[in-house]
Symmetry: C2
Subunit: 477 residues, 2 copies
Amino acid sequence: MEFMKGIQRKETVELADLLSGDYTGKTVSLNGAVHTIRDMGEVSFVILRKAEGLVQCVRERSVPVYRAGGGCAAATQEAADEGREIADGRLENTDNGPEIPSTELKEESTVTVMGIVSLEPRAPQGVEIRLTEIKVLSTPAEVLPIAVSKWKLNTSLETKLALRPITLRNPMERAKFRIQEGIVRGFRDFLHSQHFTEIRTPKIVARGAEGGSNVFRLDYFNKKAELGQSPQFYKQTMVGVYDRVFEAAPVFRAEKHNTTRHLNEYTSLDFEMGYIDGFEDVMAMETAMLQYVMKLLSEEYEKELLMLNVTLPDVSKIPAVTFKRAKELVSEKYSRPIRNPYDLEPEEENLIGRYFKEEFGSDFVFVTHYPSKKRPFYAMDDPRDPKYTLSFDLLFRGLEITTGGQRIHDYDAIIKKMEARGMDPEELASYLMIFKYGMPPHGGLGIGLERLTMRLLNEQNVRETTMFPRDVTRLEP
Amino acid sequence: MEFMKGIQRKETVELADLLSGDYTGKTVSLNGAVHTIRDMGEVSFVILRKAEGLVQCVRERSVPVYRAGGGCAAATQEAADEGREIADGRLENTDNGPEIPSTELKEESTVTVMGIVSLEPRAPQGVEIRLTEIKVLSTPAEVLPIAVSKWKLNTSLETKLALRPITLRNPMERAKFRIQEGIVRGFRDFLHSQHFTEIRTPKIVARGAEGGSNVFRLDYFNKKAELGQSPQFYKQTMVGVYDRVFEAAPVFRAEKHNTTRHLNEYTSLDFEMGYIDGFEDVMAMETAMLQYVMKLLSEEYEKELLMLNVTLPDVSKIPAVTFKRAKELVSEKYSRPIRNPYDLEPEEENLIGRYFKEEFGSDFVFVTHYPSKKRPFYAMDDPRDPKYTLSFDLLFRGLEITTGGQRIHDYDAIIKKMEARGMDPEELASYLMIFKYGMPPHGGLGIGLERLTMRLLNEQNVRETTMFPRDVTRLEP
């Protein structure tokens, strides 16, 4: 019987090993995709693309190119053809196949190369591999329709997205989503350290949390169902169970407008916390989380930040201003009349961002006490003036990236508010159950991951920071 | 201007602090939900439920009960009523409200209590709080319809799920999902340490990866769309970008059969890795991941494991057997004729699990080389015998919890296989793009999180280990 016992060390080295250990003068084996080949006559430069960066290899004309044995399967096939015995279920390791002309080595071929490591300050990682052997693992069927190996992809967003599976191979493109990974890691790790529990809530729901017209509907075994616009009801429910919870998961909004900041499917970073003294506790938690995220990015994603020329914003302190006051400040400073005291236009958001950058040097600003009619029914109204709520948005360089606030936790209060809005409590009975049987004072927020990434990377369109965006015209790739 | 600077230390202590520091004889303040009240005449025991466990409090009759000031909002309201000035946007902290009769303190009330810590070996955490003051933060509108505070919920699965928002408050119920959190954390942290990048792929797709009839369809701006059955195409795509990737996200299957092991929405733990020598590399990675997860659970989720009486399985080595051989072994040992050599019935899976437990003491077994016609078109056929694939399932106590294998990476090979199956390559052009322009040899797997949790906790129905299950009859809560 064969047993799996865990991972075994491979013969190939990883880039991190290569750079941390002293490999100079030693022969190593490593694999990767052929990013570019530059033929200089006697020698050619073969740049390997690995997940962690590019590696410069030098090939003299005499260095042989082999086809791979074709993986375990082909190796075993060969063994079987030759009548050699094969242990039950166990396949042998790959070997070299036949030698092939070096013209068979192409850009986007994947290879395992062998060579001697030498220091080379002009090479991407300060090292160079002087090749002794190349084994081709796979060969593309066609030449790339776009020069992925260029430093910056020189093409329209439209083309970039149509060819997304390929254009993401460009080092600058892929660096964006490494940083996005870092944001999510930071969000989770920080909240975990603050005793939050990670939850997993359903995306097919009977009724969305936000209501309105922007819901995707589907047929669920002859019942009407919707795709969740937010995990709101579920995360509040779970505050009754774990006190503090979070989730990083997709949400769906059937927005018909095709703007630079809307997506029909995006990642919402949600948290919700019980036993708060006010919504300020939620803002404080978000501030601390952002501080943690920026620190993590500066420590572990330095290479990507450098590549994208990104300077991390200062989040040591974030100003907070009321909705009403923010409108006044902007109106005064930029001589812009207030048209509607209960609404914030995108242009106004932008100016608020500008104001706090100019006056306080801050890229972020919390805008608090949004008008009640602009917030969902579960938002807690301000007892001082119930036209406003105990809630906030966080603007990052003039764009809303977070909506949050304190929620109603009292059963009678939420029923009253629903009725005042003409809603039928019967329809949300399984959500209202949590208030009927007792809930602590609580609040929370939702952050749009792609928007946060977009602002952080100074991109102008949220599709730039979405791996495979979904919008009104885009369902593929 | 007010600034948010991060979290400030609260006056209330957390359970972890209480147990780690030396608080004996000291006065502390802590909050929680009233889990039970046991009236003994002169004193009553008030058991507080916090996220991390239960805390025993003792209340003498004379200890006053106050209503909370009602949070910042109410405190500020009061200040406003009294004409006191409130700084812009800044609300004051909560204070005590009026004293109320102690009968107002109810089960599922949430409170902040003050009291003196004393050692008490018979109490849940070995400590007891002798109360000096109780502040009621919220009061339920009705008495719980089910005794959540019982050690084990004594009710049908049907009732448990109908009242899920409440029944999850039961300490044993919530312990299950803490362990589930731990599994996901371990999965991610281990893969991160192995240079995998976390990806986020769309759930609204043009076409599912598995095809067939079990897809949920929706109208996407007058185009036909589906809910993703698996991130398969996208994770393969991202192997061309990052070499190794993973995702833990929801998948959707419109299965019409309502069994103890099927869900219509579940969490799939997916990873995909390039530059493999064979699918054994994928099995080895999964084995090492499970080793890491079990270690993490034993170290950080000990309390929950103890509460649920769970012994972690030994994953130091996992046997691997071919599909064909597994069927023979089971047929011989349990005198069961092989009815269909190319199919594995649930009963057979169960017996394979039993066989490897009896013969090798293993709770897990890899079954390799599944028949080609039982696998999707992208599975790589075994060159030795193309009726079988270079693939595997992982069974845990006789239940399939993982499907994985090596994928075809050659463009011509995948086109040929699609055509042989009567599929139209045009329809999957944006997926096939990755092979056309070059892909490394690669493979991966998908793990059903809820099933893995179910087997680990020795539950008999996958709904027991799903926070809010979706099945043919269940769309709420």
